[in-house]
């Protein structure tokens, strides 16, 4: 084994000390300092931690750090390395139950923990999942396939295209529903692009993740997984959806349309929200309750469209007061083909940007306008500014969310470089990314402190 592995994570003084006593990680040792003795197992050290301390797991289960230059002696009793594996129990096959395919992209919906290092080991094979969430066997015959093993922030065009193709393959094979495990940070980007790449799917395509990792007893992972698998297996909603907690309580999940959903809190369980509309349905362990009836229905045929295209020369510019023209110029000069602006209010930017926008148009760069308020429409004919911008070739995208507009523009440019055709694609609604109207309950952000709101949240089930 390489030295790096033998003394995993140790550097500098600490590494020298361990080497001088031949004390490898996982050694069961007694460490002596001038004042005391410690008995325990030498643990690997985090690479980011300083080079001065040795980490010991004591018999009580606690870890402590001892400064290397205080250590006088290390006596080694043995070596206790453990290889952690998730127990596999064969996922039972029940004839007559729907067949669901779970694709993994890297998020850990189910996992367990290496108790000594705290590292999370993903549970993924049907057997592993059955070992940790046995309820799944009451819902479907589950199959799994690991597509990628990347963090949410590292998902990109390559993975989007690969995932879309994998989904297409499964639909053709006759699957009853698809679940995609995904990190939550960029789940809404992936949900949006899959909504464009797979059109007219005959079966539910459900994205799911967890906000609290599944090694915690309080995790939302198992419940999210149960909800999403139930949706894929049983629901009649044949759309790309995100299935995550409705409230922070363990009560129900929500099914959000893939092009209208957004992660709205950095850590809350109920972080996903449908913006400018209401979710498609509620789901709990026992039932799926539609909240609307205009969704695409499940079908038995296998006719659908796969459009796995993406041009990544696209960017989002989040406008701020006093933005300078060079921001736009730099993008244009770097060869970007499309720019989505997240403008203020109804879709505005300041005058100093005008020449740069004009230049972008002349150089065949597609520029589209969305709103950074997230809720509401880009309505550029209301004020002079908006009208000026449209004159400069900036095209408003109604109530399309900025991130959705970004992936859609990449997808459009992946299909054609003809800006008129691109415009055609951008202004056509394929998967609910723009809506004709915003219902008044599409914008509900409760304001805490107001008596009637307080009354509402004073008891659970919210």
């Amino acid at each position: 084994m390489e030295e790096k592995e033998l003394y995993k994570g140790y550097r500098g003084k600490a590494l020298e000390l361990l080497k001088s006593f031949n004390a490898l990680v996982w050694s069961d040792v007694e460490v002596k300092t001038a004042t005391s003795n410690f008995i325990g197992i030498i643990l690997p050290r985090s690479e980011q931690a300083d080079p001065n301390h040795i980490v010991l797991k004591m018999r009580t289960g606690y870890n402590i750090g001892i400064r290397a230059d205080k250590i006088k002696e290390i006596t080694i009793f043995g070596h206790k390395e453990a290889h952690y594996k998730i127990p596999e129990k064969e996922f039972p096959y029940t004839s007559g139950m729907p067949r669901v395919m779970l694709f993994g992209t890297g998020g850990t919906i189910a996992s367990r923990l290496d108790y000594r290092t705290g590292a999370v080991i993903p549970a993924f094979s049907p057997g592993e999942l059955y070992g940790s969430v046995p309820e799944l066997a009451d819902i479907c015959n589950l199959e799994t396939e690991k597509l990628y093993g990347v963090f949410s922030e590292n998902m990109g065009p390559e993975q989007w295209i690969g995932t879309a193709k994998a989904i297409a393959r499964e639909i053709e094979k006759g699957v009853d529903g698809i679940v995609i495990g995904h990190g939550t940070d960029t789940m809404h980007h992936t949900a949006a692009i899959l909504s464009f790449m797979i059109q007219n799917s005959p079966v539910p395509i459900v994205m799911v993740g967890s906000q609290r990792s599944s090694d915690r007893p309080s995790s939302d992972a198992a419940l999210n997984l149960i909800h999403s698998v139930k949706t894929a297996a049983e629901s009649d909603i044949a759309e790309v959806m995100v299935c995550m907690f409705g409230p922070t309580s363990d009560v129900y999940g929500l099914l959000h349309r893939g092009t209208r959903v957004r992660k709205m809190h950095s850590s809350y369980r109920s972080t996903f929200r449908t913006i400018g509309d209401i979710p498609i349905a509620m789901v709990n362990k026992n039932m799926i309750k539609p909240l609307r009836n205009d969704y695409k229905k499940r079908r038995n045929d296998r006719t659908f469209k796969l459009l796995p295209y993406f041009d990544d020369r696209v960017s989002i510019v989040y406008y701020y007061p006093n933005m300078k023209a060079d921001i736009i110029d730099t993008l244009v000069d770097s060869g970007y083909k499309g720019i989505i602006i997240a403008g203020t209010g109804l879709g505005h930017v300041n005058k100093p940007l005008y020449p740069a926008l004009k230049r972008a148009k002349e150089l065949d760069v597609a520029v589209y306008m969305t709103v950074q308020t997230l809720w509401g429409y880009a309505q550029m004919y209301v004020y002079d500014t908006g009208r000026d911008l449209m004159e400069l070739g900036v095209i408003p995208l109604a109530n399309m969310l900025p991130e959705v507009a970004y992936v859609k523009l990449g997808w459009a440019l992946g299909q054609t470089q003809d800006l008129n055709e691109v415009k055609n694609i951008m202004l056509t609604t394929y998967a609910g990314e723009m809506t004709l109207r915003e219902p008044s309950n599409g914008y509900l952000i409760f304001q805490g402190g107001i008596p009637e709101v307080e009354e509402f949240i004073s008891t659970i089930k919210k």
């Binding site: 606690y62 750090g65 070992g131 007893p217 004073s458």
Partner: protein, 642 residues
């Protein structure tokens, strides 16, 4: 070594001697939890120490067991999973934020709290760790919404002095966040209030070196006084709580949780030792009957139909409710459910407790058994059951009732607990009860419940930080006592002083201002009590003000009585100023006052003539308080013919 558990019979509590405890191999250790006095909580910035039963919102969660290293659910996990509780948290916006509710990752550990923990560790001469690693300790009962408690070792080792030059050794001290307070736990619903959640506390763990129940209480008192003497811990209800672990020879280390008062410890540990001893005897009895882990035999069946017309009210009610009745047959267990375990407590309680906690059947009675002497169930009904179950004379039957699932869980649990009797004392945590006995709380969690917290980096205790705390630390409680003793202060006042926040002030008054230790202790400890009765708060005076007043006294500008008078005046005034200094009484004034008082005395009816002098003194002092020494005045008064 073979032990004959029938060789020793437990005596009543009062009659047990040190030798008796030695005979059974009594061993006990403590885990003392003490909240720290900080402004904010340990891992978030919520204010600390604001308690209220009022709440603004409720959140519902479930705890899902995570798998252990071996791929099995561990004991506690399995138990909590069986109980399938809905857990409801009551939240007050002012005291709880999204961190406590597990919707936001932790913030860095409260530095103030860590400093206090290090300081207290130093009092015990413990080894402070160089790097504090935060761990997660799993709790599946819902008492912490994350499902684990964040906890970290601050020091290992250390000791405290106990009688006759003995020292009790400490295993470790950890710093951790406090849990929720339980409001109710009925059926499948447990409610918690979250105000205490996340409060910083330290847990001091001793070696199991206490040899009698009384020693456990003594040591607990020493620990409690040691931390209080720093003035940096919280006091009052719930601020200090202790877990006690007990074992006897051949028994199991059992933790009794949530001991409410130190006074209860001797009875609790006595009863636990007795329980273990009697369970070990029970095992021997079973062995004598030929029942071992391998030969143990039991079964259960649904007897709802047979019990439709039961004359035992709880069962007839249950059947009317559509519930199920299950009969458990324990082969060869005749009379053993009446086997004594603790004071006035029998083996049937061990079984009933398990059914209550695991099957959530918490309306008592939740079982009835054929060993019962009471006439609760007519013998005719038992006969029918005996026939149906195929029970012999030597067997015992236990009935349990509940809905489909709970009655099933209950029946299975009865068999599990009965079988454990063949092994001895099962690993459990137990709950302290007010009568000094204890009840089942939960199965003891496995060692896998501890794992590193990946949300927070380790904290290096720099030498600079270490030295800064070390240099400002006051003496440990017991050293203070020795010191006060050497100054001839009495025991009571020494202890009060050592626990007060005036130990520094005391040393300044004695060593720098050079007033007598007795007077300094009187000013700092006794006088404040007198003032409290008058509605005055001594703690409003600053250390500087106390020193200034005592310096005046030392320089002769104030008489002894004047010191007390000016303290009184300064508190009423809001602060000490020089113009509050009483003018000492002149010869002329004294003569006038004496004359006045004599006149007044004449017009006063005095029944008890021996009190005459005292009344006279009182009349003069009314106007001269703090301006003339009582002793001096007494000398003058004695010379006057009244």
């Amino acid at each position: 070594m073979e032990i004959n558990y029938f060789d020793f019979d437990f005596k009543p509590f009062e009659e047990m001697t040190r030798e008796d405890y030695e005979k059974i191999g009594f061993k006990s250790g403590l885990e003392v939890h003490q909240q720290l006095l900080t402004e904010r909580k340990l891992f978030c910035r919520c204010p600390a120490g604001h308690y209220s039963d009022e709440y603004n919102a409720e959140i519902l969660r479930h705890m899902r067991p995570t798998l252990s290293e071996l791929g099995e659910y561990d004991g506690t996990a399995l138990m909590e999973f069986k109980t399938k509780k809905e857990i409801i948290y009551r939240i007050n916006y002012d005291t709880v934020c999204t961190y406590e509710m597990d919707d936001t990752p932790p913030f860095m550990m409260n530095e103030q709290a860590l400093d206090i923990a290090i300081e207290i560790s130093m009092l015990y001469g413990a080894n402070i760790v160089d790097e504090v690693h935060i761990a997660r300790k799993q709790y599946l009962d819902g008492s912490i919404p994350t499902g684990f408690q964040r906890t970290a070792i601050v020091s290992v080792g250390g000791s405290l002095p106990y009688k006759n030059n003995r020292r009790i050794n400490l295993i470790q001290m950890s710093i951790e966040e406090d849990s929720c307070r339980e409001v109710s736990d009925i059926g499948h619903k447990r409610v918690y209030i979250t105000d205490r959640l996340g409060m910083p506390l330290i847990e001091t763990v001793t070696e199991p070196e206490m040899k009698t129940p009384q020693e456990v209480a003594d040591v607990n008192r020493i620990i409690s006084k040691t931390v209080k003497s720093t003035g940096k811990v919280r006091t009052g209800i719930g601020a200090a709580r202790e877990d006690v672990n007990v074992s006897v020879t051949g028994g199991t280390r059992i933790e009794i949780k949530g001991v409410p008062r130190i006074e209860l410890i001797p009875k609790l540990t006595y009863n636990e030792a007795m329980r273990q001893w009697n369970l070990l005897r029970l095992r021997e009895e079973l062995k004598n009957r030929g029942i071992t882990e391998n030969t143990f035999s039991a079964k259960y069946d649904d007897v709802t139909k047979l019990m439709k017309k039961s004359r035992f009210q709880p069962i007839s009610d249950a059947v009317a409710n559509g519930w199920k009745v299950k009969c458990v047959l324990l082969r060869g267990f005749k009379d053993l459910l009446r086997w004594k375990t603790q004071t006035d407590t029998f083996f049937s309680r061990e079984i009933s407790d398990r059914v209550r906690v695991i099957a959530c059947l918490n309306v008592l009675p939740n079982i009835v058994h054929s060993d019962s002497m009471s006439e609760s169930m007519p013998s005719s009904e038992w006969s029918i059951l005996r026939k149906f179950m195929g029970a012999s004379e030597n067997d015992t039957m236990v009935l349990v009732w509940g809905d489909d699932q709970d009655s099933e869980t209950g029946a299975k649990e009865i068999i599990i607990r009965a079988k454990e009797a063949t092994i001895g004392v099962p690993s459990e945590t137990r709950q302290a009860l007010d009568d000094g006995t204890n009840g089942f709380e939960r199965i003891l969690p496995g060692p896998e419940r501890m794992y590193p917290d990946t949300d927070l980096p380790p904290i290096v205790i720099t030498e600079e930080r270490f030295n800064k705390i070390k240099n400002n630390i006051s003496k440990p409680f017991w050293d203070k006592l020795t010191y006060y003793n050497s100054l001839n202060l009495n025991e009571k006042i020494s202890e009060e002083l050592a626990l007060s926040k005036y130990t520094n002030t005391f040393e300044i008054l004695v060593n720098k201002v050079k007033i007598t230790p007795n007077f300094a202790a009187f000013i700092l400890i006794e006088f404040p009590k007198r003032l409290k009765k008058e509605g005055l708060d001594f703690s409003l005076l600053s250390e500087q003000e106390i020193i200034a007043i005592c310096t005046l006294y030392k320089s002769g500008k104030l008489i002894r009585e004047g010191v007390l008078e000016i303290i009184r005046a300064s508190i009423s005034n809001g602060k000490y100023t020089e113009d509050l200094i009483p003018v000492s009484c002149s010869e002329d004034e004294l003569t006038n006052r004496l004359k006045e008082a004599k006149e007044q005395l004449k017009s006063t009816k005095i029944i008890n003539l021996t009190a005459k002098e005292k009344i006279f003194m009182g009349l003069i002092m009314k106007n001269l308080r703090g301006r003339i020494s009582g002793k001096e005045l007494h000398g003058i008064v004695k010379e006057i013919k009244l």
